[in-house]
Amino acid sequence: MQFMLLFSRQGKLRLQKWYVPLSDVQKKKISREVIQMVLARKPKMCSFLEWRDLKIVYKRYASLYFCCAVEDQENELITLEIIHRYVELLDKYFGSVCELDIIFNFEKAYYILDEFILGGEAQETSKKNVLKAIEQADMLQEEAETPRSVLEEIGLT
């Protein structure tokens, strides 16, 4: 996979992950181009799009477009399912996810993506394992935040 973009119906970028080294200017140009192309597609059209020498695979979930660019030889259907699995993961983590969840917690969405896809390849396809990894990291996060209050409590008592 070369990159993944999440954007709204209005064309606002919500998440971007690049698995190939590109300059910021290129990234901006590409995402603008891809967003424009995908938004111009009609609902009955297929989820695939040839773009330069890549394939764009996209799917719309409510108001959000999930869009991946893969190599021409790649299997488009499995890419579509990667998107779907990612949505499932988000859904499970946030509890019926909506666009706002992703807007306000985009860093969490990145964490989940990083556990699922690493360096452009599917890393772990088991839903349980991905979420377990995220939960563990989140738990540690909470622990790291708590000590101060514990100390305060000790000081109080």
Partner: protein, 1121 residues
């Protein structure tokens, strides 16, 4: 009015919100607030304004030392958001690394995420991450190890892989599967970016493949897929293992976790299928091992869900890739039917894709789905249409080529996407060349290709076309007929409006007309000349095309002296030198018909020319030049080496030879000049270079050369060697059509619309049946192409000679590549070429040279041993007249280098002067207090304050009694910890002229950073090491001083050295390295490279603001110079 009030009132709460959103509250809810306010904005302009504010607030926050890690974490999340919106927050990158380095687990997580989002491979800041990654890889905290591995698998500097490799390798045997999995993926990443570095751990990959955790094993397949793709033969022994894994997966042996919509581990299955197809390709025995599991896989995947189709698609591809087995092929073919006939458009698309793949093996399959294909051809979805054309391209043969090409051209005319156009136009050209039914169709189609393809057309399309025309087949009549068609058709095109035609097309036309218009006897050559000359007048015609046109005119100029001379006259005042030269040649040739006949013989064959690739005909010229004292030729690599030592290379002999070789070549070669390329081929050693360049130029194989060892080469006729072209066998046609017709009969025909489609189908799929029936009987031969290219005998020699003309800018080109390839990396690692100064007291040495050089500009004070450095800050007061003040300096500091004495202030009783003295570890500010009166002044006390500097009074700031007309000296040591471009100090002197009556005299002055800069004496090697360890850097282009006449780099560096106290470590070629430090503290390294007329300066320092500061002073020094 009330409206306005209402709006104001409604806006008020918002305003209050903004006011209260300060301090801590702002920090915790900063992101949410930002997102909210951004979504509320309606215009892009407002957004930009808000973001500007936001970014500057963030900038302030990150640079403040009081920002806690927690706050930094929050800032980083906001920075990610800003970058996502497309705003540059690159100032936070370094802080992202810091956060990953210094933060707690929580902050690390954000830091690492930011790093992986912000930095791409090759970003220099990544080097700073290496230590953090190393530390975290060794951490006992699993989360930290995970984070480190995650970032390593995404971005990591290639050169630093050896540093972490052993640690990552160890992780392959970590008890936790998540760590093993991430380690495998990190190694996969390493393999992709630096394959030879992980060569030695292939055995460990096998261990990962056998891992008891399915996740780890799945990850290892990424590596294997890559390895097997590169060399399938090395991994045949693993076929059994892959088949066994596949069997277990398909058989449902995996834990339920790995099921996706009731399908066991689909991703794993697909990976395995890809690997198996690579292993089984063209290998019967390996293929046999996998038939069973492929069959099983096809059988199991029967559920109607996308994921099963994804597996099926991969399965079908595998079955058609490996050694065929009839039973499996049949099943797979049926399977494709499910795709193609599916009402779901995504599946239909994949079905077409699968068909496109399989028709290469069995074209008959397309016949079964012809109606679907035709429907897809008219589909409203662009993607589907395009994929259908791809499929048709694959099934094209001599019988259906006209219909298919027409479909493709139709599509192309309505297609706006440049990539698609280039891609498909190339295919049309390929088909036309292969299967053209007749000459006029071929020429017409190629004209369409050129006009649709436009100027983005790949260069090899016109090249191939011209070569085909030029080389011809064995039958001269046929060739001439084709050429005649081309001439006729192009004359018609040119008679119309040619202004909109692409350049490539114009070039092709002018070449053809120049070469073959004489074949057409009924056309007046004058008419051709007029048409071509008309093109020259068009503004849309590029200068490259003009050269083509002129070459064509040169070829047909014979006998039309009046027209040509007129044309040459009009061009002789052209701005373009190449055109002017050609016009000159044209004039010359048209006057001398004998020369014309000799240089451009008409109708001579294209092959059979002898190429003198060593250009030995120039030997005489070379030896003459050598005798005249020219330097012998040096191959490029040798020149490059020398260039690194000295930039200027004497290129005279080459440029001297230029006019001769250029003029002779461009006329004699019947190819147009733009085809010639640049190369330094004067003495035969140039093959290396010219071959490299060959790829970017037009292929000239088979183009006739008329110049050889002895000058002009007479043409030799050679017998045709290539076998006669086989015409496609006509005998098979009827049976093919018959078969199609039979198939059509079986289809229902409900409407006339359908009948149209049927008709289309019969024309599209004609010929497929026959071919496939042949292939069933045995190996079918591909139908011979209509235009067969002749073998090219002198592949390498002709290509090198084709590129070896026009040596004009060869020298400049090679020198350019030298500079390009001269990276500073090599400079930093290189052994010092010139010996570096070993004097420990670099400062005083500096001073000496400086003093010598600028003796005229600086005022030398005191005795000879006092060396004066010029003022770098502007002193408002003129230098004190009392130049003997320095004589009053205490002996222990007397010998230090110092500045001029400047007067600070004065009143009727006292006058103050100051002098800066440069000690290695501090700046001494000496203040001379001079009693101007004749009476004694008592209780003189000096108070010096400077907020930015550390000040320490060394002596003499309190004088009890200052005699009349005498001077007292006090001095302060000043230390600068934080660089500031300029600092000002203020002070007061209090004194009593009469007891009980205290006067105060305020004074002030400025100091610049320059006063605190000391040269840092290091060797080139030490410099290189230090460079890598420094983190903060700044890059900027500065003015290059060129006025002095000497080497601009040296001049500039000397100017800088004089102005600031720098140590020039080394100058190598166009680069110089310079070092200094802030007193005895933070070093700052400067790397300067001549970049055109500018000096690219790159500064590095461990101190964040020191480079900026020094850069500022460098700029000033150069501006004042």
């Amino acid at each position: 009015m009330s409206d306005v009030v209402e709006k104001t009132l409604s806006a008020l709460p918002g305003l209050f919100d903004n006011v209260t959103q300060t301090g801590a509250a702002k920090i915790t809810s900063g992101l949410k607030q930002l997102i909210r306010s951004i979504t509320e904005l309606t215009s892009k302009h407002e957004e930009e304004k808000l973001m500007k504010q936001e970014l500057s607030a963030m900038k302030e926050q990150v640079s403040s030392p009081n920002t806690s890690m927690k706050q930094m974490r929050e800032v980083m999340v906001r920075a990610m958001y800003c970058e996502m919106l497309g705003y540059d927050a690159s100032f936070t990158y370094i802080h992202a690394i810091k956060l990953a380095q210094q933060g707690s687990v929580l902050e690390k997580r954000v830091g690492y995420l930011a790093v992986s989002l912000f930095l791409t491979e090759g970003h220099e800041l990544l080097l700073l991450l290496v230590n953090t990654v190393l530390k975290d890889l060794q951490s006992t905290n699993l989360i930290e190890v995970c984070m480190a591995l995650t970032v390593v698998a995404q971005v990591f500097p290639k050169d630093m892989i050896p540093a972490v490799l052993p640690l990552v390798e160890d992780k392959l045997s970590h008890p936790k599967e998540i760590i093993r999995r991430k380690a495998v993926l990190a190694l996969y990443k390493f393999y992709l970016i630096a394959p030879n570095q992980v060569q030695h751990i292939h055995a460990k990959f096998r261990k990962a493949l056998c891992d008891k955790d399915p996740g780890v094993m799945t990850s290892s397949l990424h590596i294997y897929l890559q390895l097997i793709r590169e060399s399938p033969d090395g991994y045949k022994d693993l076929t059994g293992s892959f088949v066994a894994i596949m069997k277990q997966v398909v058989g449902g042996k995996l834990p339920m976790d790995f099921y996706y919509h009731n399908v066991p581990a689909p991703w794993l299955q697909i990976q395995l299928l890809r690997i198996l197809s690579l292993l089984g390709r063209e290998d019967q025995s390996t293929s046999e091992q996998m038939y069973e599991v492929l069959d099983e896989s096809l059988r199991r995947a029967e559920m109607n869900h996308n994921i099963t189709y994804a597996i099926l698609y991969e399965c079908v591809k595998a079955i058609y890739t490996i050694h065929p087995k009839a039973e499996l092929l049949e099943k797979a073919a049926r399977c494709i039917g499910n795709f193609v006939l599916s009402p779901k458009i995504n599946l239909k698309y994949l079905g077409l894709k699968a068909l496109t793949y399989v028709v290469q093996h069995d074209a008959k399959l397309a016949l079964q789905h012809q109606m679907t294909i035709i429907e897809c051809l008219d589909h409203s979805d662009f993607t589907i249409k395009r994929e259908t054309l791809e499929l048709l391209f694959r099934i094209t043969n001599a019988q259906n080529v006209t219909v298919i090409v027409e479909k493709m051209l139709d599509f192309l005319r309505g297609c706006g996407d440049e990539h698609t156009v280039i891609h498909l136009v190339g295919k049309v050209a390929e088909l036309a060349e292969k299967f053209a039914p007749d000459n006029s169709w071929f020429i017409q189609t190629m004209s369409d290709v050129f006009s649709i393809g436009g100027d983005s057309l790949q260069q090899d399309v016109p090249n191939n076309f011209l070569r085909l025309l030029a080389e011809g087949s064995e039958c001269k009549e046929e060739d001439d007929e084709l050429r005649l068609f081309a001439v006729d058709s192009y004359l018609t095109v040119l008679k119309g409006d040619a202004s909109h035609l692409p350049q490539h097309f114009l070039q092709v036309m002018s070449w053809v007309l120049g070469e073959y218009s004489h074949l057409q006897e009924c056309v007046d050559q004058r008419e051709v000349i007029r048409l071509l000359a008309k093109l020259l007048d068009q503004r849309s015609v590029s200068s490259e095309t003009r050269v083509w046109i002129l070459s064509a005119l040169t070829k047909i100029s014979e006998g039309q002296t009046d027209l040509i001379l007129e044309l040459a006259e009009s061009l002789s005042s052209s701005q373009d030198t190449v055109l002017r030269q050609q016009a000159q040649e044209l004039r010359h040739l048209s006057r001398d018909s004998q020369l014309q006949e000799c240089v451009l013989p008409r109708g001579a064959p294209w092959d059979s020319m002898e190429v003198d690739s060593s250009l030995s005909f120039l030997d005489g010229f070379v030896s003459e030049a050598l005798a005249a004292g020219a330097a012998p030729y040096k191959p490029p690599h040798q020149r490059q080496e020398e260039l690194s030592e000295e930039r200027a290379l004497n290129l005279e002999p080459y440029s001297f030879s230029l006019p001769v070789s250029l003029s002779s070549c461009s006329i004699t070669d019947r190819q147009s000049p733009p085809l010639l390329s640049v190369s330094s081929g004067l003495s035969g050693n140039s093959t290396e270079l010219s071959q490299k360049e060959g790829s970017s130029t037009l292929i000239l194989e088979g183009v006739r050369r008329v110049w050889g060892k002895d000058g002009y080469l007479p043409q030799k006729e050679t017998a045709a060697t290539a076998p006669p072209v086989d015409e496609p066998s006509i005998a098979v046609h009827p049976s093919g059509q018959q078969e199609v017709a039979e198939r059509i009969e079986t289809q229902p025909e409900p409407s006339t619309r359908n009948q149209d489609k049927q008709q289309l189908a019969s024309s599209l799929f004609v010929g497929l049946g026959t071919q496939s029936s042949i292939s069933l009987l045995g190996k079918s031969e591909a139908p011979p192409p209509r235009f067969r290219k002749k073998p090219r005998p002198h592949e390498s020699s002709s290509s090198s000679s084709g590129t070896s003309e026009r040596s004009s800018d060869s020298s400049s080109r090679s020198s350019r590549t030298t500079t390009d390839s001269f990276l500073y990396g090599s400079l930093l690692e290189e052994e010092p070429v010139t010996s570096t100064s070993t004097t420990t007291n670099g400062l005083s040495q500096n001073k000496h040279t400086e003093g010598d050089r600028r003796a005229n500009t600086s005022q030398i004070l005191g005795s000879d041993m006092v060396i004066v450095r010029p003022n770098t800050i502007q002193d408002r007061h003129p230098p004190s007249a009392s130049s003997d003040l320095t004589a009053l300096l205490p002996s222990e500091i007397k010998d230090l280098p110092h500045s001029d004495v400047i007067s600070l202030t004065s009143d009727p009783s006292l006058s103050l002067a100051s002098c800066r003295m440069f000690r290695d570890e501090a700046l001494l500010l000496v203040i001379f207090i001079c009693n101007c009166t004749d009476t004694v002044i008592k209780d003189v006390a000096v108070q010096l304050t400077c907020e930015e500097l550390e000040t320490a009074s060394l002596r003499g700031n309190v004088v009890d009694c200052l005699e009349g007309k005498s001077t007292s000296v006090c001095h302060y040591a000043l230390l600068m910890d934080e660089p500031h471009t300029n600092v000002s100090f203020t002070g007061t002197v209090s004194y009593q002229t009469q007891p009980g009556h205290t006067n105060t005299l305020p004074f002030s002055g400025t100091l610049s950073t320059v006063d605190f800069i000391r040269p840092l004496v290091v060797t080139t090697e030490e410099y290189g090491k230090l460079w890598l360890s420094l983190s903060h850097d700044v890059k900027q282009n500065l003015k290059l001083l060129t006025d002095a006449g000497g080497d601009p780099l040296k001049t500039t560096l000397n100017a800088l050295k004089d102005a600031l106290q720098l140590h020039v470590v080394d100058i190598i070629g166009s680069e110089g390295i310079v070092a200094c430090r802030l007193l005895s503290g933070a070093p700052c390294l400067l790397h300067c490279r001549v970049n055109g007329s500018a000096l690219a300066m790159w500064l590095r320092s461990p101190h964040p603001s020191l480079p900026d500061c020094i850069l500022y002073h460098c700029q000033r020094a150069l501006a004042e110079h």
